[in-house]
Amino acid sequence: MTLRAAFEARVGDFALAVDISADDELVVLYGPSGSGKTVTLRAIAGLLPVASGRIEIGGRVVVDAGAGVQLPPQRRRVGYVVQEPALFPHLNVRRNVLVGVERSAAAHTRYQQLRAILHIEGLDERRPHQLSGGQQQRVALARALVRPTEALLLDEPFSALDEALREELRAELLRLRRELGLPILFVTHDLREAHLLGDRIAVLDEGRVLQFDRRDEVFRHPRSRRVAELTGVRNIVAGRLEAGRVVVRGLALTLPAGAPAALQPLGEGSALDVGIRAERCILRRLDPDAPLPPNCFVALVVEDLAFGNAHLLRLAPEGAGPAVLVEVASRPYEVLGVASQPRWVVELPPGDLQLMPAG
């Protein structure tokens, strides 16, 4: 099944314009709070009128603003799960799940299956306040899936759970995604969650989709400086295109193969932004007798933050080259003996460089 949503909506002063789609896959809507993720889901669910555009779910047109079509939420066949409030507090688990489909034999059968799939057997008579947060979310999922559903909309469903439980439910959602064969839109502001779950990721900011791509594409090739910032790229510096290389603070960087094609529209001397993730920078021991390899420069550790599993090092260039943040996992940190001396060679591998229009 497929979900296609290209529309504009308005809530008070907030304007939203999105164009996203999902086949039988999990699409993450990622962005800071206030970027329009929840508004997008509400509009698709039919809880918010759309000003213009079209929404198709499972091949049915549920919104065609131009033709005056806006199906009510009752007829859109979407499962909508939010963190709070997950369940109706006055109904027990069974009645929560089967509310509105009490007389459907198919729904009862489906409920029996879902109880096993979602591990909520034996909870039928419990009230929501007698369930753990994780159980509540599982029941909410069962409730969304017990009726004919053609798309699943999940609005930060795990954000209020503790970390261990969140990990467990994420893993289960990944498994469920394959079993369901449904388009799933998953809203989150958690970067790790977005990376773990998303087949494709739509990066939202201020009511606009900045980039909508396969996950690795978004993380490796952010389309703009803002996308790079939002997806956790810690090093973004201004550069200039010179003779097929990018010069950053006096350091000429070799570009990844294929990059020149992307830079085609940019002429010699054009300004652009160069990004590299802190964990993709390489720290090498300084060999005073050998010349510096390409894309390397000497820098001094000026700050060392220990996060347990990794160290975040702030390095200041000794000569040419940018100031950078470098993340080193704790094991290589110890093997290299980073703490023992301040002068290091930083390598910015060509394949990990992200080139973006100057912003």
């Binding site: 009752q74 909508y80 939010v82 509105g100």
Partner: protein, 265 residues
């Protein structure tokens, strides 16, 4: 705190509490010592007034619930400026002195009123009828229900309704199965308050409906009438006693409703 100040400071609060308890005790004492009270309690006039009060207050409350629930819901769910203004006006009849409310009702529904006069020509007369009693009570007491219901609906997360719609539940089914169970305690508390206020209504009723025994003389009006008549204090005390007993029942009912385990617990 009490250790530092001693117990002496408790005297003032105790006296103030007595100020409320003593008059009620006085009513009881008077009933026990004054033989006329007992005979007045058995008089048919007393019970006629009480029956009228119970009937009209109950009818006014039923109307307030029936008409006030949709109003409170609409106000609570609207986001426009007009709705916010209207919600602010809910309290107006509550702060209006009842006598002014009675006059206000007369200007519209009285025989020479803006609506009363055309109605009169159609053969419908409202003022100084039992219907006028109900109208006066509805006008004065209805807002207590609407205000409580409004607060209840505001407190019920509208996202519950959104989720219910996506589950395929119609608006009406959602209201019945999801919203109403969530706000039921607020509605019940509002209805009890409304009923109690309607039962005690005096000023607006007197001006708009008069005090005709059997048709518009409710219990509070009967107290006033008895007090001014030859029966004197005995008649007034007997009806007051019954009203106090009713008030106690209402208070207990309200306590039960508000202390009932809500859906969240």
């Amino acid at each position: 705190m009490s250790a530092a100040l001693g117990r002496g400071w408790l005297l003032a609060p105790a006296l103030f509490a007595l100020f409320f308890l003593l008059p009620i005790a006085g009513l009881g004492l008077r009933a026990l010592t004054d033989g006329d009270v007992a005979s007045e309690l058995r008089s048919s006039d007393t019970w006629r007034a009480l029956r009228l009060s119970l009937a009209t207050a109950s009818l006014a409350t039923a109307l307030a619930v029936l008409l006030g629930t949709p109003l409170a819901y609409a106000l609570a769910r609207s986001t426009g400026r007009g709705a916010r203004l209207a919600a602010g006006l809910i309290d107006l009849p509550i702060v209006l002195p009842p006598a002014a409310a009675g006059i206000a009702l007369l200007t519209v529904f009285g025989r020479r009123g803006y609506l009363g006069e055309p109605l009169e020509e159609l053969g419908v007369s409202l003022s100084f009828t039992t219907a006028a009693v109900v109208l006066a009570q509805l006008f004065v007491a209805g807002p207590y229900f609407v205000r409580a219901a409004y607060a209840g609906f505001r407190a019920a997360d509208p996202r519950f309704e959104g989720v219910a719609y996506t589950l395929g539940l119609s608006r009406w089914r959602t209201f019945r199965s999801v919203t109403l169970p969530l706000v039921w305690p607020a509605l019940a508390a509002g209805a009890v308050l409304c009923w109690a206020r309607a039962l005690g209504e005096l000023g607006a009723t007197l001006l708009f409906a008069g005090s005709l025994p059997g048709s518009t003389q409710t219990a509070p009006l009967a107290i006033l009438g008895a007090f001014e008549s030859s029966a004197g204090l005995a008649g007034a005390v007997s009806i007051s006693l019954v009203l106090v007993a009713l008030a106690l029942v209402v208070m207990l009912a309200l306590h039960r409703v508000t202390a009932a385990p809500g859906p969240y617990r």
